[in-house]
Symmetry: C2
Subunit: 387 residues, 2 copies
């Protein structure tokens, strides 16, 4: 019986993680949940899974939840609540599924508490991959990927030692604007951008998929998770999202992971590794995998991908700055304050303005993150006072 804590239990990954856990009550026990402000859903999760502790974003919601909670679950809140969820003494594995920079600190705390981490929060690896992977080694902790692409790569890497690896190929659906004219991208609406062709995900990652920033982050994530230089990581457009990624070995062998797009598969694998859980699904027929296509990325149409790769190649706090600016810009786009194409333009300008710091300290990353957020907010709304 594995005891599981979930950071971000009411988000898309959190909910699907609980879907997996629900299927295997003999294998998993939820001991801690943390959420943001979706108290209603968290209440239902507490009722069903009866964790020892649960945490919410603010004190007010914690008090409200405490009043209606009848199963003895201890209700916490804020940064300390997240930390308690991440480091709970009897927990075996922490699912890190908080979206954005906010996932970083609790993920790091879980690693320092020697918890196995299933990481869906790619931003934490983007901004602090060096620290997280070093701490994982120092604490003898495994970080298992939850992203379907990285789960695919992780599995394919079982087929040969790293020294025989030629490259990693991360597949990308291309998002909703794959075949959209480049010169019309500045007119796309939020609704169009949220209409992802193959994956059902949260808003932030869906917009990141539309700009291909998500794919850029995945390159950075792969670099840190598997210790592979970005020169050995290619991105191929694969609109069907059946081949979840590939690795190529020096002998010309490509090993790939295929499957219908379903996040429960990589979630289950991260939870059960090295075992595999018998997930129920319809039998796949040849036609289900037929018509697989691959194409090069039009990098000039989707500049976010190159910006992300440049940021990690330049090193230092550039990825942290890129990530923070992206969070602010995506939010501004979702709030219809800026155009879709403004996202990349803003990121590019912020990157140019940044004087990078060393990434060996968490403080520098937090400083760079704040600097970037403030500058991006100013750039988007020049009249607004900096935070």
């Amino acid at each position: 019986m594995k005891k599981v804590s979930i950071l971000g239990s009411t988000g898309s990954i959190g909910v699907q993680s609980l879907d997996v856990i629900r299927m295997f009550p003999e294998k998993f026990k939820v001991v801690a949940l943390s959420a943001g402000t979706n108290i209603e859903l968290l209440k239902n999760q507490i009722d069903e899974f009866r964790p020892d502790i649960a945490s919410v974003y603010n004190e007010k919601d914690a008090k409200a939840l405490n009043e209606i909670n009848s199963f003895g679950t201890e209700i916490l809140y804020g940064d300390n609540g997240n930390k308690e969820v991440a480091v709970k003494s009897d927990c075996d594995i922490v699912i890190s599924a908080i979206v954005g920079f906010n996932g970083l600190i609790p993920t790091l705390e879980a690693i320092r508490a020697k918890k196995t981490v299933a990481v869906a929060n790619k931003e934490s690896l983007v901004v602090a991959g060096e620290i997280l992977t070093r701490e994982a080694v120092d604490n003898n902790v495994s970080i298992f990927p939850v992203d379907s692409e990285h789960s695919a790569i992780f599995q394919a890497l079982h087929c040969g030692e790293k020294k025989f690896l030629k490259r990693v190929i991360i597949t990308a659906s291309g998002g909703p604007f794959l075949d959209f004219p480049k010169n019309k991208l500045d007119e796309v609406t939020v609704e169009q951008a949220l209409n992802h062709p193959t994956w059902d995900m949260g808003d932030k990652i869906t917009i990141d998929s539309a700009t291909l920033m998500n794919k850029g982050f995945e390159v950075i994530e792969a670099k840190w998770l598997f210790d592979i230089p970005t020169e050995k990581i290619s991105v191929w457009i694969h609109p069907q999202s059946i081949v979840h990624s590939m690795v190529e070995y020096v002998d010309g062998s490509f090993i790939s992971h295929l499957g219908k797009p379903d996040m429960k598969v990589p979630i289950a694998y991260a939870l059960s590794y090295p075992e595999r859980l018998a997930l129920e699904s319809d039998t796949v027929k040849p036609v289900d995998f037929s018509g697989l296509t691959f194409e090069e990325v039009e990098t000039n149409k989707f500049p976010a991908l190159s910006l992300a790769i440049e940021s990690v190649n330049q090193g230092g706090t550039y990825p942290a700055v890129l990530n923070a600016a992206n969070e602010v810009a995506v939010n501004a786009f979702l709030e219809k304050k800026i155009k879709f194409t403004d996202i990349s333009n803003i990121l590019s300008k912020i990157m140019d303005k940044h004087n990078p710091l060393d990434t060996n300290s968490l403080e520098n990353i937090i400083e760079a993150d704040s600097w970037s957020r403030n500058n991006t907010i100013s750039m988007i709304s020049p009249g607004v006072k900096k935070l």
Copy 2:
């Protein structure tokens, strides 16, 4: 430095094995070669690789070769010659690449001499898979597959324990008659049947690919190599021959091996396992893997596939009988004595006539093989005296 013996060095697999070995003189040394009657090519191979021993089919060729051989290679012939090649004391790995039933005895001798075997001779596994795999276990010997499909499966099985395996999917190009009208198959010529769309192979296996008997044999081979019941083995048509096979795990994960069709890849893997050799090749681009399709097999159009699966499900000496009848019938087709569609019809009749023997003894297999050959010859040429 691995010392290599090759059974069948002048055939398609033998020649490509030497192509691989030629690229890595620091890793491999050829110590023994055996061929049939292609003395000219064998002479060239001896000149280049200077094995300690070489063997040919008959005494006359051995004498002729001995006269022109100037490097001190000992020239042998016949069954004893093959055996010496298979069991040579300083040999580390034997490539079993004799085509057809004739490959069985030397393969078995190699296993009994505790040699690692790279098996390209699928017929030996078809007729005596039970014996070969049992002897491999008893002698603590590894049998590595050389078929691209089985090499793909072998690699994919590194991604999870067998107990989590749901099924194996063997891909099939479909051969030259995939889109040929079923009711015209009795008119196809030898030249049409030898015109394989994706793989460049020997004549026997190319005809077997056209009938899909080759795929049936591969199901049997997979059953024995990986100890998987035929119910868990599917065959999917995949005309591009890029996905070389797949395994599906219980969680819905499919792991596949992809690559351009090139037998040197699985040959190199069998020779170097668990290492991988840096084979030179053009960089694969997305377009090279684009347009992958999969479809169900039309089993009524290609009855050989079902006949093969039935034969191993019925057990006993049925697969040996099927294989022998197939060798005779394919040969008769190549000699234009029978029509393409006669091959399966003949096999079906021979199977019906057979009273199966137990397969635990090699003698029974040899007896069934002879019975089948004689009966098939009689059926094809009723006036010819049985051998």
